[in-house]
């Protein structure tokens, strides 16, 4: 049996029945990694020894009668933006190339407690800035469905690793679509939880008011299982919400009868790939067929979301990235005579072009004389965008949109003009501005064999509704079972 092919819940069943050991599972996944990593390049760091040692520990504990929890012995990949004690966490940046955190992120701590096994750290756009993972300082992760195309980003390594069966599931971070868009482009499931649902402690900050950690999985059930492990209030994160925590797996009901699906007019306009649009309408028709009702809704400020997002995100990023200065950790230039030179050269040599561009943009947006025109203005428009969703959700339970206007694009296709790349985030960023949850699930393939993602948006702290719709759709389709030919 090819254990590496299985989902988390399938592996869990085998472990429970004693038909597989954690060591076998982890061993199988490493065999897969060794077979395809050369093509995919999903991992910045692979921690094989630690993973195998931990698997042996898990097996020993199971032998002694320790209970098998849903993630016991399950091998996961972690985006290299989440701090792992003793394992270098680079954010795919030269400036943190040799940075070894001295603490675990809260989600890592929780996953350890649940018995999960970490395979390594997944590649990403530097500091999560990008939509193609081309901005990694170390390597270009390939889309498992077409090695000439990007896996999406910024969590490209996490999504590609899941799609290529190089892990059972993974975690990414989503600031403007960085979990959902690569999930869509790689044909897997990706969830961005409500802002405040999952602790950000230990997630290296890009844009603090937008960032959330989210799972990337082979199916919707696994997504709910991973959410159960990481969601919840954390006293270390003031912005994590003290709200009742559901068992997300209980939302997995194959039934959407009477549910109202909002279809926003603004998301079905020019510029969208017709194949993508057709797949989305097909999915909507299937859900209607399964008993859901559709409602036409309007999100009138959608057109302003990209400008708003790039102002808020870059301003916060310019601040969050000020700490990389060669003093306390990370890279320091070899050639400096004094402090000012040290700062300027360290940051010049340590950051890549996109990161510098965003630091410049954000610094400018916050600087004297421009704060009101740019940053404050964007914060106000952000309010309008939030209100759009509040209004829309009076008329529907979830909102259905495409995840990305196109399927996976070719390397280099959008790197020339930064604005083109920014515009590809059009369907995902409003969700972060509003702080609401959204999931991307596979809903078809282009004629060229590239996966297409369906995005389902929910009300704040109602991940259950989107999981339910996603699960129902998945139970009635076969898209998630297709595997790339590697």
């Amino acid at each position: 049996m090819e254990l590496f092919r299985l989902t988390i819940h399938e592996l869990h069943e085998l472990l429970k029945k004693g038909e597989a050991t954690a060591t076998e599972i982890v061993g199988s996944v490493f065999e897969r990694i060794e077979a395809v990593e050369g093509k995919i390049q999903a991992y910045v760091t692979i921690t094989k020894e630690e993973a195998l040692a931990r698997a042996a520990g898990v097996d020993a504990a199971i032998k002694k009668g320790k209970g098998i929890r849903p993630l016991t012995g399950i091998p996961l990949a972690i985006k290299d933006v989440i701090c792992t004690l003793g394992v270098r966490t680079t954010c795919s940046s030269l400036i943190l190339e040799n940075h070894v955190p001295i603490y675990d992120a809260t989600v890592i701590h929780k996953l350890r407690e649940e018995g999960a096994i970490f395979l390594g750290k997944a590649n990403m756009d530097e500091f999560a800035m990008g939509s193609s993972t081309e901005n990694s300082a170390f390597m270009k992760t390939k889309n498992p469905w077409d090695l000439g195309r990007v896996p999406g980003g910024s969590s490209g390594g996490s999504a590609a690793a899941v799609a290529a069966d190089m892990c059972a599931g993974s975690f990414g971070s989503d600031t403007g679509g960085s979990v959902r868009q690569p999930a869509a482009l790689c044909g897997v499931v990706g969830l961005k939880p409500t802002y405040g649902r999952v602790s950000r402690y230990g997630l290296v900050a890009f844009a603090s008011s937008l960032d959330q950690i989210g799972p990337i999985t082979k199916d919707v059930t696994d997504c709910a299982i991973l959410m159960n492990a990481v969601a919840g209030y954390d006293p270390m994160d003031s912005t994590s919400a003290m709200v009742t925590l559901p068992d997300f797996t209980r939302a997995l009901l194959p039934d959407v009868k009477g549910l109202r699906l909002g279809i926003p007019a603004e998301y079905f306009i020019e510029g969208m790939d017709p194949e993508v649009e057709a797949a989305i309408w097909e999915a909507i028709r299937l859900l209607e067929h399964l008993g859901a009702n559709t409602e036409k809704i309007s999100l009138p400020h959608t057109d302003y979301a990209i400008a708003t997002y790039y102002l808020v995100a870059t301003a916060e990023a310019s601040s969050n990235l000020a700490r990389y200065d060669g003093v306390k950790y990370g890279y320091r230039t070899k050639r400096s005579m004094d402090m000012l030179e040290m700062y300027q050269r360290t940051r010049r040599e340590g950051f890549g072009a996109e990161v510098k561009r965003r630091i410049m943009l954000g610094t400018y947006a916050l600087s004297a004389g421009y704060y009101e025109a740019y940053y404050l203005k964007a914060q106000k428009v952000r309010t309008l965008i939030r209100h759009d969703f509040e209004e829309a959700f009076k008329h529907c339970d979830v909102i259905i949109t495409p995840t990305s206007p196109t399927a996976a694009f070719r390397f280099g296709e959008k790197t020339e003009d930064p604005l083109t790349m920014y515009l590809s985030d059009i369907f995902t960023i409003s969700v972060n501005l509003a702080g609401i949850p959204a999931i991307s699930i596979p809903c078809g393939f282009t004629k060229g064999g590239l996966p297409i993602g369906l995005q389902i948006l929910g009300k704040p702290f109602n991940e259950e509704a989107i999981l339910r719709v996603a699960y129902t759709y998945e139970q009635n389709t076969e898209w998630h079972k297709r595997k790339p030919n590697l």
Binding site: H99, S238, D303, Y304, M339, Q344, R348, A378, T383, G435
Partner: protein
């Protein structure tokens, strides 16, 4: 012109980024195009709109004033580019 090369230089200095001539030119060009796109926001009247700093309606989150052990110094300094005698070491400061 939204932003001049001189302003780009000023912003780079604020952000402590050394830029090459080529980068200055390129950033001036790119930032101009991006900022022009951002002008879109001016189509909206936001006079009476409250800015959103946080999307969650929570206030007054505290921790109690309790001391927990600090980290061992070896760990704290383990990632330091340069250290000496228990301190982080930095080049001379002229400003």
């Amino acid at each position: 012109m939204k932003i001049t090369k001189r302003e780009v230089e000023h912003v780079a200095r604020l952000a402590r980024l050394e830029l090459t001539e080529e980068e200055k030119e390129r950033f001036t060009r790119e930032l101009n195009s991006i900022l022009t796109y951002f002008d879109k926001l001016n189509e909206l009247n936001t006079e009476d709109v409250e800015p959103t700093s946080h999307v969650i309606p929570i206030v007054n989150v505290f921790r109690e004033d309790e001391v927990r052990p600090s980290y061992p110094r070896e760990e704290v300094l383990s990632n330091a580019p340069e250290e000496e005698e228990a301190f982080f070491k930095v080049p001379r400061i002229l400003e």
